[in-house]
């Protein structure tokens, strides 16, 4: 708190009320965007601070939405080790194309998210690729918590309550971008793991601990929505979602490396290569005069 000593001021006049309001500005809290993002006070050592395009901390029970360009790299960090971050993406230039969780697990033949896993749209394209994962605790099966589920568990699930459901928050994010309820399918969730037992039973594996981070590279322009809300299978009786840090920076060389199959630590299978090729083709078709990523290494499809 910097300057909110209300005893020294009055708000009985317009001038005084304006002074009172203006005196609040300039605070730095743990729940806010920093603009411009290059002013972010504590960039990680491996992130070029002058390339930051978005920097925000999202407290538990809240959300954000931002349009991100192709070639953006995102880092989400579970600051306290108690976060769950349901994430949704729509293609910014064609929002009826959007994340499809069924294709995201079916196409790579893999239910668990990790480094190299593509987040696929319903049009056979990669919206983003997970390129680094310091958590290993994620979920593409259970979606975000629901109004009915949170009401049953915590007594409330609406956005204004103390235990907002993840889906309610993602819906607000979509509505702010002109989207409607029908435009909100199911998100993937970072930082709270789930595993499937042999008989199909779902088992919560919780969080990895404070500071766990996951990085994504964006392949096509997207509206990115991130909520922070307890996972539907979180065994805790109390709502305890912690802060998630969202950093984004321009990283066209990372996208180039994925397309060229030279990105360290990302093993690419044939389904991924075709998804990548489809994304590049869509970009070129829509932007024939812009510089496309080098696609010479794109494998022929089999």
């Amino acid at each position: 708190m910097t300057s909110t000593d209300t005893t020294a001021t009055t708000t009985a006049t317009t001038t005084a009320a304006r002074e009172h309001a203006r005196a609040q500005a300039g605070e730095i809290t743990d729940s806010m965007p920093v603009v411009p993002a290059t002013d972010w006070p504590h960039p990680p050592a491996d992130v070029p601070a002058d390339r930051l395009t978005w920097a925000e901390s999202i407290p538990g029970g809240r959300y954000t939405a931002v349009v991100l360009a192709r070639g953006t790299r995102i880092r989400l960090t579970d600051r306290d080790g108690t976060a769950c971050a349901p994430l949704m993406m729509w293609r910014a230039d064609a929002p009826w194309e959007r994340l499809n969780t069924a294709d995201t697990v079916k196409v790579p033949w893999q239910a668990y998210l990790g480094t190299g896993h593509p987040l696929l749209s319903d049009q056979g394209r990669v919206l983003a690729t997970i390129v680094a994962d310091g958590s290993g605790h994620h979920d593409a099966l259970c979606g975000a918590s629901t109004l009915a589920g949170n009401t049953a568990r915590y007594g409330a699930g609406s956005p204004e309550s103390d235990s907002p459901a993840g889906r309610e928050l993602l819906l607000l994010a979509g509505l702010k971008h002109g989207l409607a309820e029908r435009d909100l399918p199911h998100p993937v969730s970072f930082f709270h793991g789930v595993r499937v037992a042999g008989d199909g039973t779902l088992v919560s594996t919780g969080n990895a601990g404070p500071g766990a981070a996951v990085d994504l590279v964006v392949h096509l322009p997207v509206v990115l929505a991130v909520a922070v809300a307890d996972h539907p299978l979180d065994p805790s009786p109390d709502y305890h979602a912690g802060t998630v840090e969202l950093l984004a920076w321009s990283a066209p060389e990372d996208l180039d490396a994925l397309v060229a199959d030279t990105f360290p630590g990302v093993d690419q299978d044939q389904e991924y290569r075709r998804a990548l090729a489809n994304s590049e083709a869509a970009h070129r078709a829509a932007n024939p005069t812009s510089a496309a990523a080098p696609t010479g290494a794109l494998a022929p499809t089999s």
Binding site: A148, H186, P232
Partner: protein, 202 residues
């Protein structure tokens, strides 16, 4: 109690089907020739933004598989339909629908112009005012999608057989939207789509 048959229809191989079920009515799906995947979506008939949610369904029941007693829920977590009888088990919640677009990733670009479930959903859904934005990952009745210990997941041979059936009861008035899967590249229907029978009783 005597059941009244309200409808008894056969959905041809590869085709779409839809119907409004009134609360309390039962739909019995008969896998006539066996090993046919029946891709299905449910919407509240009065508010189609209330639609089937695979994540809400599996999270609430704590399992990825559907069988007798499973409650299929909407995005807000409320019940849409309940499975009341099942001769097969393990109906799939994860695989979603085949589409021309996903087929290019899974099998190669030569499959691009094969008719797929999403087209059935779009064409049949349009009769109810539903469009692309209304489509979400669906239930696959009779389809078998296991998850291995390392997360490997895939569509494998079905567990159904000729004449096996399941029944579900509408918990409110719902639109049932079905694609009798045309997929010919994987074992969801033994690489050979076959007809199914839909019986509605009250």
């Amino acid at each position: 109690m005597t059941q009244t048959v309200i409808a008894d229809e056969t959905v041809p191989a590869r085709a779409a089907w839809s119907r409004v079920l009134r609360a309390g009515q039962t739909l019995t799906i008969v896998d006539l020739e066996g090993n046919q995947a029946v891709d299905t979506l449910f919407y509240d008939a009065h508010d189609t933004t209330r639609r089937y949610s695979a994540p809400a369904t599996v999270a609430a029941q704590g399992s990825i598989f559907l069988t007798t007693g499973s409650v299929l829920r909407d995005d807000a977590g409320e019940p849409l339909v309940t499975i009341t009888a099942d001769e097969v088990g393990n109906h799939d919640t994860l695989g979603g629908a085949c589409s021309q677009e996903s087929n290019t990733l899974r099998y190669g670009h030569h499959t691009r112009h094969q008719h797929a479930c999403v087209e059935n959903f779009l064409r049949e859904g349009a009769r109810h005012g539903l469009g692309k934005r209304d489509l979400v990952p669906n239930v696959n009745f009779f389809m078998n999608v296991p998850v291995d210990a390392d997360g490997t997941l895939g569509i494998v041979d079905g567990r159904s057989a000729p004449g096996k059936n399941l029944a579900l009861r509408a918990d409110r008035n719902v639109i049932v939207l079905v694609s009798n899967c045309p997929q010919i590249n994987n074992p969801c229907n033994g690489f050979d789509p076959t007809p199914v029978r839909m019986i509605v009783t009250a």
